[in-house]
């Protein structure tokens, strides 16, 4: 056993500022955050600066720690969906669906094809909403406010589609174990079609404004880069990893919810810098549109939820008329239904990367342990390394292009 040679890991020797090195200026300590408008969230960075150059930084997180994992141990499976909404609130439907799929895996519920396609449509819309914010805010941080106001209008349209399906705009709580809560209404279909035909124009315009903009390129190219090897060692996933040239995408690698039926490309970058992250996210929006188009074209007929009376709420009319439905309704809402014993891990491709749910159930009504794998939390660790040696203004846009969501990071 002891004959295992230890790997000389790529992780040795991360440079701390050497004491002996002569700095040009006196070192300054600068506190950035926790309520700094440029950090888009509640993060604190204590920077050690040599003039304009960042020598070292220390992060503090946890400013909105809400103890999700503790709450999850006290709530029936059904009520945990509410928590997942509030994790990455820029793309809540992805979190909801990821959680539903985890539980369905545990319970062995087979979801009908139509529901799977509907989920794909909603998840891809959520991805677009997520990437819109990230990319347009990045543009704002480099000084281009107009683009933000312009594409935010389209995010409103996505919210309207959500509203058709669940009544909420942001914390969607969309879908149920076993499928969707309701079918697409005619209005929802009209809105999605409208979005599919109109959004590309807006996106193209936004991209033509920013993508080859000299100022934007000068500000972002070569800023905050990370190599593919380091990114893997830091546990990067999602667009940030793909920008560093590694084509890991959960949708392609471990397809869930019928992603194998769709044709889409996984865009990758080369240098992992801010500009690459911007491009990867931009291209992913196009791919998402492609997926939604395919799903809309081939949307199968049939039921939109599985026949799982123990977990899927009966329709309200039935509850009023039918004894059995009333009992199921009561039991589900009160969380009186025990989950089977088991351990299950399921992951989906969230807006920021692999969003995983590790659920340990001991047969009670609540999970024994629920661990969320939050992509933000894991890759935000690399931030000090990515900004070392750059200027303060570069650090700001590096952070904004990483799309760190405080709610997801701190749970």
């Amino acid at each position: 056993m002891s004959d295992v040679a230890l790997v000389s890991s790529p992780n040795v020797g991360i440079a701390k500022p050497e004491e002996s090195k002569k700095y040009v200026n006196e070192l300054t300590t600068l506190n950035l955050g926790p309520t700094h408008p440029a950090t888009h969230g509640i993060f604190q960075n204590i920077l050690t600066m040599d003039g304009e150059t960042i020598i070292d930084s220390e992060q503090t997180v946890g400013y909105i720690h809400r103890a999700f994992e503790k709450i999850a141990e006290r709530r029936p499976l059904y009520q945990i969906t509410t928590l997942t909404d509030r994790m990455n609130y820029c793309s809540s439907p992805i979190n909801n669906m990821g959680w539903h799929m985890t539980v369905e895996k545990l319970l062995g519920i087979e979801v009908p094809k139509r529901a799977q396609y509907m989920r794909v449509i909603m998840m891809e819309l959520a991805r677009i909403a997520d990437h819109i914010i990230c990319n347009s805010i990045l543009a704002v941080d480099t000084g281009a406010m107009t683009g933000f106001l312009y594409v935010m209008q389209w995010r409103e349209n996505i919210y309207e589609i959500y509203e058709e399906l669940c009544g909420a705009r942001l914390t969607t709580n969309m879908g149920r174990f076993g499928g969707m809560e309701r079918d697409f209404s005619a209005e929802a279909i009209r809105k999605i079609k409208h979005f599919l035909s109109e959004f590309p124009k807006a996106l193209r315009e936004f991209e033509s404004m920013v993508k080859r903009n000299r100022i934007f390129m000068d500000r972002t190219i070569g800023v905050g880069g990370i190599s593919g090897e380091r990114a893997l060692n830091y546990g990067f996933t999602g667009p940030n990893l793909r920008a560093a040239g590694i084509d890991y995408d959960v949708r392609a690698m471990n397809p869930y919810s019928s992603y194998e039926d769709f044709e889409f490309d996984v865009p990758v970058g080369t240098t992992g810098d801010t500009y690459d992250r911007f491009l990867v996210r931009g291209e992913e929006m196009w791919q998402s549109l492609r997926i939604i188009q395919q799903a809309m074209d081939n949307l199968p007929e049939g039921p939109y939820h599985a026949d799982a009376p123990h977990y899927y709420l009966p329709p309200k009319q039935e509850v009023y008329r039918n004894m059995e439905a009333l009992i199921y309704h009561f039991k589900i809402v009160m969380g009186e239904i025990d989950a089977p014993v088991g351990e299950v891990y399921h992951s989906v491709e969230g807006g920021n990367g692999e969003l995983g749910f590790y659920l340990v159930s001991d047969g009670g009504r609540t999970p024994y342990r629920l661990k969320f794998r939050r992509p933000c939390y894991i890759y935000y660790q690399a931030f000090p390394e990515m900004i070392k040696g750059s200027t303060l203004s570069d650090a700001i846009i590096t952070m904004s292009s990483m799309n760190v969501i405080a709610g997801e990071l701190d749970t």
Partner: protein
């Protein structure tokens, strides 16, 4: 745009004659204040995203005289706390409040800021009114942008009708003292 209509606020009650207009100073100051409130968005989580929507083109908070979002506490009039405030964050909120100049108003947006919301846990502050006085609570998880706007209009109403001497009154001092603010 030729069909543009310019809206002006109504003048307060007063005495009008040829070449003069007399009204109470309180009313005039209130009017001016109410229509030029500078909000300080203290956005921590989900509700902050809805604030972003409120601010952006579709809902446009700027229509209410809040064009300038003041990220500096020193020049802000309304502290809009949006999102969960964890216990770790509580001192920061208080500090920001203390940095603001009088008159200052506070708006708690969303269930979390008002009462802790769904997070009745060891790490979350159960409502910001435990550390600072709050003027307007906006319910919802998250509130819709319309609701946030409505809350903002309530603040405008407060600003409009506020007595000019309120901030020096012993009642106000006692209120601040009860939060440990001198």
């Amino acid at each position: 745009m030729s069909d543009r209509t310019i809206k002006t606020v109504e003048a307060p009650q007063g005495l009008e004659g040829q070449g003069f207009f007399a009204a109470k100073l309180d009313d005039l100051v209130g009017l001016a204040r109410a229509n030029s409130l500078w909000p300080l968005p203290f956005a921590t989580s989900c509700c902050g995203i809805e604030f972003m929507a409120t601010m952006a083109s579709h809902y446009d908070l700027a229509r209410f005289g809040a064009e300038r979002i003041s990220f500096s506490a020193r020049q802000a009039d309304v502290l809009m706390v949006m999102g969960t405030i964890a216990k770790k964050m509580a001192p920061v909120v208080k500090q920001v409040y203390l940095q603001m100049a009088e008159p200052r108003w506070v708006m708690a947006v969303g269930a979390c800021a008002s009462s802790g919301g769904v997070f009745d846990t060891y790490s979350v502050l159960q409502g910001i009114d435990r550390i600072i006085p709050v003027d307007v609570y906006v319910p919802g998880c998250p509130p819709r942008p319309e609701q946030i706007l409505d809350g903002f209009m309530q603040i405008q109403e407060l600003a409009k009708t506020e007595q000019r001497r309120r901030r020096e009154s012993p009642e106000y001092k006692a209120l601040l003292n009860s939060y440990g603010i001198e």
